[in-house]
Symmetry: C2
Subunit: 133 residues, 2 copies
DNA sequence: AGCGGACATCCACAGCTGTCAATATCGACA
DNA sequence: TGTCGATATTGACAGCTGTGGATGTCCGCT
């Protein structure tokens, strides 16, 4: 473990969800720095779980684009604390937003976060005629 | 969508890299089945590691689109067994191909795998015209 | 054939992660 | 104010994962 990057607290990730995809350069343009790779991996780790993927799709497919936590618990077949934990991970990764109304908590997708992630992963299949610099 | 959660051995994943993104439906179209979520998570887990992300970018950014394992070991600052392990994970996930020439092993990107992944994650931000359904 | 180098595999270990029971917190309501 | 219900947090634990040292395997060279 020789990652000399700044030890930012995990809560900071939620404060800057735009850090997900940095700026623009796809994964394949130039070698990732250790810090950039760590940032990107943190977001991907939030995605790389069956329960969280299902949560995202449940929220996204729900009418109105948002879903109540109680619905998610019922749909997932996992315990309520476990679902709450997964939702927290997704919110802190900037992939979901949480809106608490009364006793209910509603979660909605953050499309730009997923799209930024998709943009980073996209590979230019056709080589540009101008040649790479 | 009745993905039967077949307990296929991990080696089978390399034989069907197109299984990464199933068919076409983005994550946000309809709730993922447990099997589909598990499949997608498996591929994302292969990506969700700083060392493997750097490996992918190193390979992709290397001239000729492929890189020798020795270069990767030198660039990553990790031990040779560790790099070999990460490369194996990426190959088994269908994200890299391995081509052994003599004593050297060359690794190349599988653009379609990453692009399929990106397609799954992409969220349609604008509603399709006339597609009120 | 013998040797050296490149890569893969095995083994062990520390740290992380998903899971749930128990509990705490907070808002709605009588 | 007291109770009920929804959600979040805590604590514990099993299983997974990243890592490196030691070793095996295979190829090229002398």
């Amino acid at each position: 473990m020789a990652i000399p990057t700044a030890p930012a607290p995990p809560a900071a990730a939620a404060a800057r969800p735009e850090a997900v995809a940095a700026c623009c350069a796809p994964l394949t343009r130039e070698p990732l720095s250790a810090g950039a790779a760590s940032d990107l991996a943190r977001t991907l780790k939030a995605l790389a779980d069956p329960a969280r993927l299902r949560l995202l799709s449940l929220v996204a497919a729900h009418e109105g684009g948002e879903a109540c936590a109680c619905d998610l618990v019922a749909s997932l077949g996992l315990s309520q604390p476990t679902v709450s934990h997964h939702l927290k991970v997704l919110v802190e990764a900037g992939l979901l937003t949480r809106d608490k109304r009364g006793v209910w908590a509603y979660f909605a997708l953050v499309p730009q976060a997923l799209n930024a992630l998709a943009a980073v992963l996209t590979v230019p299949t056709a080589a540009p005629p101008g040649g790479a610099g």
